[in-house]
Amino acid sequence: MTPFHDYFGISWYVFLLIWSAIAIGAHVYQVGFIVKLIRLGKDDDRFNSWNQRMKEFLTDWLGQRKVVEDKVAGYAHALIFWGFLMLVSDVIDLGTGGLFAEFLGMIYLENIWNLIVDIGYLMAGVGLLVALYRRLVIRPEKLKDSSIEGVMILFAILGIVITAFIVEAGYMLGEESHYNYWEPIGVLFAKLMQDIDTSTLQTIVDVSYWLHMILIGGFLIEIPQTKHSHLIGTIPNVMFQDHEKMGTMLPLQVDDDDLAVKTDDLDFDNLTLGVNKFEDFTWRQLSDGWACTACARCQDVCPAYNSGKELNPMQIIMDVKNYGKEHGNLLLAGEAPDETIVDRFSPEAIWACTTCYACVNACPVHIEHVPKLTDTRRHLVMEASDFPEELQNLFNNLERNSNPWGLGAHTRADWAEGLDLKIGEPAEYLFYVGCAGSFDERNKNVSRATAKLLKEAGVDFSIMGEMEMCNGDPARRAGNEFMFQMMAEMNVDNMNSLGTLKVITACPHCFHTIGKEYEKYGGKYEVYHHSQILNELKQKEKLKIKDYGDKVTFHDPCYLGRIGGETEAPREAIGGDLIEMERSREKSFCCGGGGARIWMEEDADKRVNEIRAKEAVNTGADCVAVGCPFCMTMMSDGLKTLGEEQKTVKDISEIMLENLEG
């Protein structure tokens, strides 16, 4: 029996047509509104590398590559997602009163189609049950405060699945039962229902059919309004994911060759500095809002959120969407709402970010959280001049003495005294020491250890001495893009004047900025973190290093591991009894010092470094090995606060020098 008959003397498809018109109309209208909002954003040309984009789309979207990293929720989602892809054509069949299946029958595809749809419903059903079990029974911490909406929607979708099986079963029952084994679950349902009398059965089938159609229509209306917008939003998000190297930032203005326009030639009259208005974002930054599924993986890994600060990266993405929704009509009319994007994010949240990129790395649908925060910082610094007071010190110091502490620029090479190094001469490698390695007593020791090891191995290298400047990263991550660019331009000039091709640095921020960002400012170099060069020398036995005796754990610096892509060289360089922390390699947890945070005040009860220091202590290691001067400071401070001063914090190079044989 089928539900395709007259109701109250009117044919079933009249009702269906009316309902479809409402549901589809509402859906299209709302999606259109969102598309118009997203198109308010600035250009961002990502319509290139189509082959790569297709591949990424197949693995990341269709293949759910990153979704399944979370085993329970991820696979549940994948089952529902794949299930729905398989079953979605069933709605055409049900909407046409079985004409679609008939058509498929003519081309001998009906049976296989029936099987696919049935398995699809089954997969979705299993996924939904797992998801409901997770929400109602397991109840992970991050879902404790989530609204009932999620559960309701899961039940509604489960309703769609069950009613589909009932309607399927109805087809097989009636005056004479004929079980279609191409629809195995349908058969199962039919067998359960076979003893029901015909008229009751007809009612059940009718109710199920209309419930099914109402739920699907309702779902269509609901999709653009809630986090289910990700059903559509993830398509452009995954397809047009960022192809720049992780952690790189956009220059103020680029020319036709995608190089930064020189500071002297910037067109300030037509330049928006950073983001304060909805339409200051690029379209792709805006589309993130509707791609977010609120899975909260970004929140789980965010050092700011986990240390109790105002920032929740997921909320930032929600804010973009909600701001657009709430002020949509004004925005589309070209008017400016009283509330700005900065107001919505809140300055406290904007300044809490360490730019560690853990959120971006964790997001299954390629949402770009960090640039939203650094772009609003640009606005706050360069347009509004409204930023934490401590940063004014930082900017003045960088400007006057080209180091964050404002110490005399002429003392930059003092650490090298007595080491007999080449200073400001051409050499195979340039050892770019960086500010901490040049001015901070603790980190000067790292510079000395690195230089001694390089000399020991006979590497031809030079330092820049007083010619060296800060690479500009602290200014940049703090929003002062203009200052960064001026410093980058000067540094590139100086480095090029030495004929620099290869660079070694012990600072991951120098490593990242010089290696990945300077290209746009005219500086193309091969940049190595000192652990990479030192490890290579160790492997080639140019440095004979015995294994480290102490129990040691390595804290991956964000800009070396997750962002820099190097997690093995430091470990091999250290050697010996290495114990891993709970979170390591690409999943390492920030020390709290990045994103210029080390120059800002941090509430004593909300310290990121203490969380990380605790993880290090939990390993039972005697020594925390680091590969970044800021991690050095933050981890040492963290251990001190925990009263674990007896544990040492050492740079990779220091450990190697200690264990140098002969």
């Binding site: 001049s385 930023f387 006057r400 404002g406 005399g408 002429h410």
Partner: protein, 253 residues
């Protein structure tokens, strides 16, 4: 209210200080705006924002124009124009001569108020501001930590031993500003760019043969290579030695 702010360009605080044959080597100095004068600029701009008028920055320096970029930043804070008096053989340690050149230039401006920092962080004479006041026949209040203006009357708080003195005067007057008198704003990039379009006038002035006391010999305090660890038989002995050193060698207590 029209305001003149006197700005001294001083060697950066972290400059390398070298003495050769009794003379300070000033060849490698990089110059910056004297930090005390920044408070004066900020105060002037705040008055201008409240009262209207014009803020003219007046600086005296040699022909060396490497200072221009840093000086221009004061325009970004909100001052209207800069006049740099270019003087051959200018020296920062001749307050009498410098006050003469500056006060002559102020006479040509029509100002109600002259502001400057209490002292330069180079020679620490704390002299030029008050000298300018005397030369202009204006009253002055020095070392001011807060300043209010109300229809022709200035009310200033200045630091004195153990307290604060509140002094009032009518304009015109000269006020020298103490550290932390206000919070100097950080100019937005747009303001920095706009400041490039503001007037920046260079004006040659004659060298002045003054009665300033000249430095006959500069010297560095006794060098203490990398610091000195004080040893002693006991704590008492160490403390005594430390106090002796602080008094006699470093001359800081």
């Amino acid at each position: 209210m029209n305001i003149a702010v006197l700005i001294k360009m001083v060697p950066d605080t972290e400059s390398k200080l070298e003495v050769n044959d009794g003379a300070l080597n000033d060849q490698n100095f990089k110059y910056m705006v004297n930090p005390y004068d920044e408070f004066a600029v900020e105060q002037a701009v705040q008055f201008k924002e409240a009262e209207g008028g014009k803020v003219t920055l007046l600086s005296l320096f040699s022909e060396d124009n490497s200072i221009d970029t840093d000086l221009r930043k004061m325009l970004a804070i909100g001052a209207d124009e800069i006049v740099v008096l270019r003087q051959e053989g200018y020296r920062g340690d001749k307050p009498l001569a410098n006050a003469k050149a500056l006060s002559d230039a102020i006479k040509e401006l029509d100002v109600d108020l002259v502001l400057c920092g209490i002292q330069g962080i180079d020679y620490y004479q704390a002299a030029t501001g008050t000298m300018v006041a005397q030369m202009l026949g204006m009253p002055n209040i020095s070392g001011v930590t807060s300043l209010e203006y109300n229809s022709g009357t200035l009310k200033a708080k200045r630091q004195i031993e153990g307290g604060l003195q509140t002094v009032e005067t009518s304009t015109p007057a000269v006020i020298t500003c103490q550290k932390d008198m206000n919070k100097v704003r950080f100019p937005a990039l747009k303001d920095i760019m706009m400041s490039k379009r503001k007037p920046f006038e260079n004006k040659n002035v004659d060298s002045i043969d003054s009665n300033d006391a000249v430095t006959s010999k500069s010297s560095l305090p006794p060098a203490r290579d990398g610091g000195e660890m004080i040893d002693g038989e006991n704590a008492e002995d160490k403390v005594n030695k430390l106090i002796e050193k602080l008094k006699m060698e470093a001359k800081v207590i």
